[in-house]
């Protein structure tokens, strides 16, 4: 199977600090990959680079063989909108919008009828089991529900690749398990690939592949440099 995403020798420095060093990885369609590592090891920086939010100091990111690094900021945004779903530890929902409107949020700048937008958002909210909470604002949802809304938002454009940064980090154990089950279900239903940054062993256990980040260097479970 050809790679959905391939990172080659990614390097990121912030001044003298080398956050990520020579990181390479491949993600295949439908695959769940977990990246573990201690705080400050460079996991999130790597995820930001892979999502096009941060430009690498060196190295290449290929999406279906295309070099993402050659895109300008607006083209990167459009690429993200079409191909990437992002889930954050802190959910980052818009407080003034309802759950359904939050799910539809990535669709707002797109030329799309209100009805179509509503139908799509409603369908994805249903997919995460929250159709009965559609009109509730984030402040009236539990942490687990907010994360489900964030996941539905990540899925609303049917992207082939979902990046999740500590998606269970702000949730209790049971709710975290539910989110994990949801990821598996969504992978089976949509065929999307997941790259999950996590500290949680249970999340790692559910992944097809686990990579370890130590001091900016990405290794596989066997402790070898990845690739």
């Amino acid at each position: 199977m050809s790679d959905l995403l391939q990172a080659k020798n990614l390097h990121k420095s912030f001044g003298v600090l080398q956050a990520v060093r020579e990181a390479s990885l491949r993600i295949a369609p439908g695959e769940i990959v977990a990246i573990m590592g201690r705080s400050g090891s460079g996991k999130t920086t790597l995820l930001h680079m892979l999502a096009g939010l941060e430009r690498p100091t060196a190295g290449k990111i290929l999406y279906l063989g295309e070099d993402v690094g050659r895109l300008n900021e607006d083209s990167l945004a459009l690429w993200r909108r079409a191909n990437i779903g992002l889930v954050f530890q802190a959910f980052h929902l818009i407080p003034t919008l309802s759950a359904k409107e939050n799910v539809a949020f990535p669709l707002y700048p797109m030329r799309m009828s209100i009805v179509e937008r509503s139908v799509r958002a409603g369908a994805h909210l249903d997919q995460v089991g929250l159709s009965d909470r559609a009109q509730h604002r984030p402040s009236r949802l539990s942490g687990g529900e907010q994360q489900r809304v964030a996941i539905a938002r990540a899925l609303v454009n049917n992207p082939p690749l979902i990046f999740a940064d500590e998606p269970t980090g702000n949730l209790d154990s049971d709710t975290g398990d539910e989110i994990l089950e949801l990821f598996k279900k969504l992978r089976n239903e949509t065929g999307a690939a997941f790259l999950i940054i996590t500290h949680d062993d249970k999340v790692a256990a559910a992944a097809d592949r686990v990579l370890i980040m130590i001091d900016g260097i990405l290794q596989n479970e066997a402790g070898q440099d990845n690739e």
């Binding site: 705080s39 941060e54 607006d74 945004a77 909108r81 992002l86 980052h92 409107e101 700048p109």
Partner: protein, 417 residues
């Protein structure tokens, strides 16, 4: 741009929206009210001229005769020559000229202010035609007839058919007119045909003693001009009539209105613009605080695929809606203020030169004034200016600040590590 998101933001931050709308509203209301006030006064100043359908009057300061006997010219008037009248008619922007012969007649038993006019003129004192209350108005070809001011007729027991003497010539009253309905400028007690007035002037000793009077002279002109060239024409008439020219226009009447109007007329636009700038500064503060509070939200927008321009348009839209709402509220306030202003009366002092009676007689020129309701109102032009300025200001603010925030680096705001 998502209107739904836009209104959700405004609805959920009522104080922010209220402050933004109020600041623009105050700026717009001040700007519009000041302009409406100044425009109203400018129009009020033109009222004496508008009443007679003219834009300018022209005369030339004369010489006081040795005696006030028989027919004399008011000393604010001297003959205006035919060639000068023709030059004025030829000026670019001049649409029509009504010639008048204005005179005082000191009869043994009374004083008469007389006016010779051409009844075929459609403006100037000929508008008195609309004020006829009995009999008829003067007609082309009339000689030896007069129309009397009804108040003057009543005081002097004149009726239709009565004979009055002017400069030794008799005139039969053929009509009575309410002169207050036909303008205050160059009001007279008796109105006679222009040709008769010219004959009176040419045969009057006291006129001939100070002027080289000619049969086709006039001594007061009412002039209609292209509205865009009134001031230019006034200047050119002064050049034709020389340094004793007295040209009255809306502007010269406005000069009589006092220092408050002069201040507002001169600085109204400036003060209005300062009010706008103040409002824009408040709006800038509101938008800046909104944008700063929403850094995380903007970072999320960018992360989920909004382009910089999508973010900018969204935030610009919010600012524009605030400005338009503020503009409409401001216009409503201005309409209220303007309505209140339009309830007030303005007294426009008329220069002594245009007084119908000698200032040395009781109730003469010193008390002469026209009182009108202040014609303050909102014009479409003013409304468009106010909305345009607020929209332009909001657009500048709404593009400048969001332009900066749209370049936000999402990882700096969203990062957990």
């Amino acid at each position: 741009m998502s209107l739904h998101y836009l209104f959700a933001e405004l609805r959920n931050h009522p104080m922010r929206a209220f402050t933004g709308i109020l600041s623009i509203a105050i700026g717009v209301a001040l700007f519009v009210s000041l302009q409406a006030y100044a425009d109203g006064y400018r129009q009020a100043a033109r009222a004496p001229l508008v009443e007679v359908g003219a834009d300018l009057t022209a005369q030339r300061q004369g010489t006081v005769p040795g005696k006030f006997e028989g027919v004399v010219f008011p000393h604010s008037t001297a003959p205006i020559r035919r060639d000068e009248i023709n030059q004025i008619r030829q000026l670019p922007g001049v649409q029509a000229v009504a010639e008048v012969m204005f005179f005082w007649s000191f009869e043994p038993d009374r004083f008469v202010a007389g006016l010779g006019l051409d009844p075929s003129d459609t403006f100037g004192p000929s508008r008195l035609m609309a004020g006829v209350t009995a009999g008829r108005f003067l007609q082309a070809g009339d000689h030896g007839v007069a129309v009397a001011d009804s108040t003057y007729a009543q005081q002097n027991k004149l009726t239709l058919g009565s004979i009055v003497l002017l400069g030794g010539q008799s005139f039969t009253i053929v009509g009575l007119a309410d002169t207050s309905r036909a303008g205050q400028l160059a009001n007279a007690n008796l109105y006679i045909p222009l040709d008769d007035a010219r004959v009176l002037a040419n045969t009057a000793l006291q006129v001939r003693s100070v002027f080289d009077i000619r049969p086709d002279d006039a001594n007061l002109l009412f002039i209609k001009t292209d509205q865009t060239r009134v001031d230019q024409v006034a200047t050119q008439i002064k050049q034709i009539l020389g340094n004793k020219a007295i040209v009255s226009s809306g502007q010269s009447f406005a000069a009589e209105l006092g220092s408050l109007f002069a201040l507002i007329d001169r600085f109204g636009v400036l003060v209005g613009l300062i009010a706008f700038l103040f409002a824009a500064a408040l709006l800038l503060r509101v938008v800046a605080s909104s944008v700063w509070e929403r850094r995380r939200e903007v970072a999320v927008m960018r992360a989920v695929g909004w382009r910089q321009r999508d973010v900018m348009i969204q935030l610009w839209g919010e600012t524009l809606v605030l400005a338009i709402a503020g503009g409409l509220v401001g216009l409503a306030l201005a309409a209220l203020t303007t309505w209140a202003m339009s309830r007030s009366l303005v007294t426009v002092p008329v220069p002594w030169e245009l007084s119908p009676s000698p200032h040395f007689l009781p109730g003469g020129a010193t008390a002469f004034a026209v009182t009108v309701v202040l014609p303050a109102h909102l014009t479409l032009n003013l409304v468009m200016w106010a909305l345009g300025l607020s929209a332009a200001g909001a657009s500048l603010i709404g593009l400048w600040l969001p332009r900066w925030i749209a370049k936000i680096h999402p990882p700096e705001v969203l990062s957990n590590e």
